[in-house]
């Protein structure tokens, strides 16, 4: 019986949940969201027709709780479940449970998921089906000749449980680390080794299969720009496949064989590693992702397909036309992460004060873009202005996708959009993405998985805004602040900013690392240390300056403890310093004196004791009340000139604590 789908629960969060909801709406299907406590205010919750809470915040307590999600689907009256990517999307048991609950599973059959679930097992299957695979190396039998090798988690994905081993000495530690990482990430510590291709290219093929046995290969994607084995830039078509025409046919044939071998149904992706160093590039099967891929938008942009709509239609029993639509143009996707690449890719959390892209992005695309002369922009975002980014989930904020007639246009357009995006409140990998997109080798199609290792990483992660940009931006920030203060002034706001009948000194504004001294007078702006800057206009959110003969426009946004300045010179974050030190941050002097006359009733410290701030040292009784005399700061008790029972006068020194030297 053909299932009828009317209401879809998406067992996911963030951008992918929103992406799937968009296709559901297009097809007239109702939507159900699930959300953890941390996501209660999330955009995907607000957009769904109904939403069911999953108590808790950690993934293990929420989005990984299959039984709760199925319960939610039944509660909300959903008749189908879409898993998105990640979380339970490649969990065969969950897929089976969804089906057992009488719900439609939007994805491949559980058996196909299971077949591809084990990397070791799937490679064996593929080898048997005639799909080229990399020779497997027994971790216990790795020799010098096999090096370098890559250790991988059998159940893995997303780079976790992966280690490159270049010397035999590193092997035992690498195996142990990969295994424990795999065990904690996937609940399965099984690892295996395969030859490591130093300059491999990661190319994958999108397949879509229906019940009638039609298997489409809907173009390839190249995802070679990776950090720590995690893709950050993906594109379609593959630059390598464009350069080596027979490679595409090789990939398509292998992908089709892979899908056919396991009776695949619905959308999936077959990933290959391509040895570009060989005289004739050869591809090797890596794994098959039995779900929607993060980077599916680049395929949608070049084919006009709506892959999610196709997934829903195939799940409902619809059949594919004989051939997929042709591809045209070039699409590039970047993953914008709340992370600091220069600080070991440290994830960032906090308030996203602003998130705005220039160039009218189409949210979650709509498919069917003509590859015209004008580049187009797509945004798949899980967050927006005002979103709170937490620590519980992947720090990816959004995917930004550009589509143009050719690769260089798409890359440069996307770089320009990212550079001018207003992303306030969180450090992101934006600057790195822009530098990669503008890198000469990248533009020449020289992308491989060792891109970051073979480039000057410090130069790639350097901020887009140079010292000159920061200096001008700080001046703009100071002037925007002046304009804001003028507007907010309770009195005399109509007078010129900082007016003096006798100007004697500069107005000073301090930002961490940048002091700005300026004076606004009848003859214009004077900036300390710069005689080439003139003011064109100033407003709380927009300052126009001329430096030398060049005019720049600065967009300024001030938030508590943060000022963001965006201009053609690059985005700049400034931390304003308060003009006065916070007295509560100052350590009071170490002498403790009696607040009133009284009797010392108890001592709790002795001379030489190491004490912590707030630790009681002695008790003083006065007027029937006992008063605690506590250490004002961490330090050493230097003097304690009182004894129990001693009467003290007001102001008498009771103890002296020498504060520890500030470190």
């Amino acid at each position: 019986m053909t299932p009828v789908i009317t209401r879809v629960l998406v067992a996911n969060r963030g951008e992918i949940a929103r992406r799937i909801f968009r296709s559901c709406r297009d097809l007239g299907l109702a939507t159900v969201a699930v959300y953890s406590d941390a996501d209660a205010g999330g955009l995907h919750v607000a957009e769904a027709d109904s939403a069911v809470r999953l108590p808790g915040a950690a993934s293990a307590d929420t989005y990984l709780r299959g039984e709760q999600i199925i319960e939610a689907a039944l509660l909300a009256g959903a008749d189908a479940v879409h898993p998105g990517y990640g979380f339970l999307s490649e969990n065969a048991a969950f897929a089976a449970a969804v089906q057992a609950a009488g719900l439609t599973w939007i994805g491949p059959p559980p058996a196909a998921i299971a077949a591809m679930g084990s990397k070791v097992e799937s490679k064996r299957l593929m080898r048997e089906a005639g799909v080229p695979v990399l020779a497997e190396v027994d971790p216990a039998a790795v020799t010098e000749a096999d090096l370098p090798v890559l250790i991988k988690a059998s159940a893995g994905g997303g780079g976790r449980g992966m280690r490159i081993v270049r010397t035999l000495a590193e092997l035992p530690a690498g195996l142990a680390a990969a295994s424990s990482e795999a065990a904690s990430a996937f609940g399965d510590g099984t690892v295996f080794c395969e030859p490591y291709l130093q300059r491999g290219r990661h190319i994958e093929v999108q397949v879509v299969a229906d019940q009638a046995g039609t298997i489409w290969t809907v173009g390839e994607r190249e995802c070679s720009i990776q950090r720590r084995h995690q893709k950050i830039i993906e594109e379609a078509p593959s630059p390598l496949a464009e350069q080596v025409p027979e490679l595409r046919q090789q990939l398509f044939t292998a992908a089709r064989a892979a899908a056919a071998a396991i009776g695949y149904l619905n959308a999936g992706t077959v990933e290959f590693l391509v040895d570009a160093a060989a005289s004739r590039p050869r591809c090797y099967f890596l794994e098959m992702n039995t779900r929607l891929q993060v980077e599916h938008p680049v395929t949608e942009c070049t084919t006009g397909l709506d892959l999610v709509a196709l997934q829903l239609q195939i799940a409902a029993g619809r059949l594919l036309p004989a051939a997929p639509p042709a591809s045209s143009g070039h699409a590039i996707e970047v993953r914008l992460y709340a992370e600091d690449p220069a600080a070991g890719w440290q994830p960032q959390s906090g308030m996203l004060h602003a998130f705005e892209l220039p160039g009218n992005p189409v949210e979650f695309g709509a498919g069917g873009w003509p590859a015209g002369p004008r580049p187009l922009l797509r945004l798949d975002s899980g967050v927006g202005t005002g979103s709170q980014v937490g620590v519980h989930y992947d720090p990816m904020l959004a995917k930004v996708i550009a589509c143009a007639a050719d690769r260089a246009q798409a890359a440069l357009f996307l770089a320009g959009v990212l550079e001018r995006a207003r992303i306030h409140g969180l450090v992101t990998n934006r600057d790195l993405l822009v530098r990669v997109l503008r890198d000469a080798e990248f533009l020449a199609g020289q992308t491989d998985t060792a891109f970051f290792e073979s480039h000057d990483f410090a130069a790639l992660t350097a901020p887009l805004a140079d010292d000159h940009a920061v200096e001008l931006s700080a001046v703009a920030a100071a002037l925007a602040d002046a304009a804001a203060r003028q507007q907010a002034a309770r009195v005399l706001g109509g007078l010129p900013s900082g007016w003096r009948n006798l100007p004697s000194q500069l107005q000073r504004k301090r930002y961490a690392g940048h002091d700005v001294g300026y004076l606004l007078a009848r003859d214009g702006l004077t900036v300390d240390g710069r005689d080439d800057i003139t003011l064109v206009s100033m407003a709380p959110d927009l300052v126009v300056l001329q430096a030398g003969r060049v005019r720049y426009t600065f967009e300024v946004a001030a938030y508590p403890g943060l000022v963001c300045v965006d201009s053609a010179l690059g985005p700049v974050r400034l931390t304003p310093a308060e003009p006065f030190a916070d007295p509560s941050a100052q350590v009071p002097a170490g002498s403790l004196v009696a607040p009133m006359p009284g009797t010392v009733v108890r001592l709790a410290a002795a001379v030489g004791d190491q004490v912590r701030a707030g630790q009681p040292l002695l008790w003083l009784e006065a007027m029937k009340m006992q008063h605690v005399i506590a250490a004002p700061a961490d330090g050493i008790v230097e003097e304690l000139p009182v004894t129990v029972g001693q009467q003290v006068e007001v102001g008498a020194v009771l103890a002296v604590v020498k504060p520890e030297e500030a470190t």
Partner: protein, 532 residues
């Protein structure tokens, strides 16, 4: 809207000449003002800084709200006297935590910040402004006390300083004192008479008598800290309400005190969204001719000062030598009186008396733009009652209760100075343009009068008249009167609140009008008997 049209030809030779003359005067005044800004000179500034201390104006800048305006008052006090220009004190009006305050700061680089007769007079003027306009007073003190050689001019009148502080407090106007260094002997009463006192650890010293005096008086051995240290006053005497860690901390505390005053101004608020004048205020430089005998149309000034150049003239065809009318400046409604042809006749006097009463009826502040040579003389005018009519104008201006602001843009001679609300008539503020001159009469007229009188005396005594001596006398008197009628001289004697750049007129008026609305604005309820 009744928009003033300008007839000023900015391409004319006259305009350029006027402008050049005005700029030259501004440059000259700037040089003198520089002396006040330089304080006690580089050596003392360096020494002060080496002690880790901020300069007087740096303290003020830190105290003010960032990017807010500050009007320094009487900057040329003591100009032309034996004392340094500026009077070793900075006074002015600025915004602290959204509150317009009267700020005074002793300049310790000038003879240790000690008070001389001009310091005292400048401080009196500041206190008058605070009281009249209900401005909270913040005193930043670091002073070596009275300049003892001139004590005769300080001691007796100087007691008013302490009286002023407590009268301000009695009038509900808060007084805040931050002691940055010494404030001893008489100076100790500044914190003593203030509502709020901040002292700085190891810096403030406040005592009636220092260790030597105490030793002489009672034989007690003592030291500065036990007699008047900040810690002592914060913990023992209670003279200090707040103990600050350093100068920055003291200023921070001062700002917090003002923030907690919950201050409300008593006058009405200004109208929202005032528009700038339609004509460029830069052109104010080219209106007044260097030779004040050449008349100019004050409407050209008004057109560059009032909101939207919008001016509704009152009695435009009557008493045309005085322009009167209604406008607003930075959203504050005002009545303006401006001399047009210099001389005040009976009609002008009566027009002024009526106009001042009208303004008082509707609680509207008045602005006086001076360019007058005085009331008309001559038998025809005396017989026509010019004294009577001038008296009506002076009666009206004396008893008017709305805020007055006078600006001397040209001449301000004779009783015309009084009728136009000169200094003795207590305008809330009085400023001069560099082009101004003020005296009992013009220098040539005064010298001529003296010459005629002495010629008559010689004739009466039957002595021969020494024409050469008379010419020399006339030249000497003329140059002396000329010098004494110039704005720097008058500013030096604190007969004005400062000389302003004509281009700042609108800004200064806007600030002063806002400040004037700190007190309730209400018109007079009675006048002296008008002699009809």
């Amino acid at each position: 809207m009744t928009v003033l049209r300008s007839a000023l030809d900015t391409r004319s030779g006259g305009y350029a000449e006027n402008r050049d003359a005005m700029l030259a005067k501004l440059a000259e005044i700037g040089e003198q003002t520089r002396k006040a800004l330089d304080g006690g000179g580089q050596k003392y500034v360096d020494r002060h800084r080496a002690r880790g201390k901020l300069l007087a104006r740096e303290r003020i800048e830190l105290l003010l709200d960032q990017d807010s305006p500050f009007l320094e008052l009487s900057p040329l006090a003591a100009w032309g006297t034996e004392f340094p220009v500026g009077g070793s004190v900075v006074t002015g009006i600025g915004v602290v935590e959204g509150v317009e305050c009267l700020i005074t700061a002793s300049d310790p680089t000038v003879r240790g910040g000690s008070s001389n007769p001009w310091t005292v007079r400048k401080s009196f003027r500041a206190n008058d402004i605070a009281l009249a306009n209900r401005l909270p007073v913040i005193s930043l003190i670091e002073s070596g006390g009275a300049d003892l050689p001139t004590q005769k001019e300080i001691f007796i009148p100087g007691g008013r300083l302490f009286r002023d502080l407590t009268r301000l407090s009695a009038a509900g106007i808060p007084t805040v004192t931050i002691v940055f260094g010494n404030s001893t002997a008489g100076g100790a009463y500044v914190p003593g008479m203030s509502d709020h006192v901040v002292m700085i650890r190891e810096r403030s010293k406040v005592f009636l008598g220092g260790p030597p005096l105490v030793k002489m008086a009672t034989g007690e051995e003592s030291d500065d800290e036990s007699l008047g240290g900040a810690e002592m006053h914060a913990r023992a005497s209670g003279l200090a309400d707040y103990l600050a860690a350093d100068e920055h901390d003291a200023i921070r505390i001062g700002r917090r005190i003002v923030a907690r005053l919950n201050w409300r101004k008593l006058g009405p608020r200004q109208a929202a969204g005032p528009v700038a004048p339609l004509h460029d205020e830069e052109e104010l430089l080219g209106i007044v001719p260097p030779d004040l005998r050449v008349p100019f149309d004050p409407r050209e000034v008004i057109a560059r000062v009032v909101d939207g150049s919008d001016f509704d003239e009152f009695k435009p065809s009557y008493g045309t030598s005085l322009v009167t009318g209604w406008a607003s400046v930075h959203g504050y409604p005002v009545g303006i009186l401006a001399n047009s042809q210099g001389v005040l006749f009976s009609a002008e006097s009566q027009k002024a008396a009526q106009f001042i009463q009208l303004a008082n009826q509707v609680d509207t502040p008045l602005i006086f733009l001076h360019n007058t040579t005085g009331y008309m003389v001559g038998s025809q005018y005396e017989q026509g009652g010019i004294i009577k009519h001038g008296a009506m104008m002076i009666n009206a201006v004396s008893n008017s209760a709305v805020p007055h602001i006078s600006i001397l843009i040209g001449a301000s001679y004779g009783a015309g100075h009084y009728g136009m609300c000169g200094r003795a008539y207590d305008p809330r503020f009085l400023f001069a343009w560099p082009s101004a001159k003020s005296a009992v009469m013009g220098p040539a007229q005064l010298a001529g009068v003296l010459s005629i009188v002495s010629r008559a005396a010689a004739q009466a005594a039957g002595r021969p008249f020494d024409e050469d001596a008379d010419a020399a006398m006339r030249a000497m008197v003329e140059s002396q009167i000329e010098a004494e009628s110039l704005p720097m001289f008058l500013s030096g004697r604190i007969y004005d609140d400062g000389i302003i750049d004509p281009r700042d007129t609108r800004t200064v008026l806007g600030l002063c009008l806002s400040v004037s609305h700190g007190a309730a604005v209400s018109g007079a309820t009675g006048y002296g008997v008008f002699r009809m």
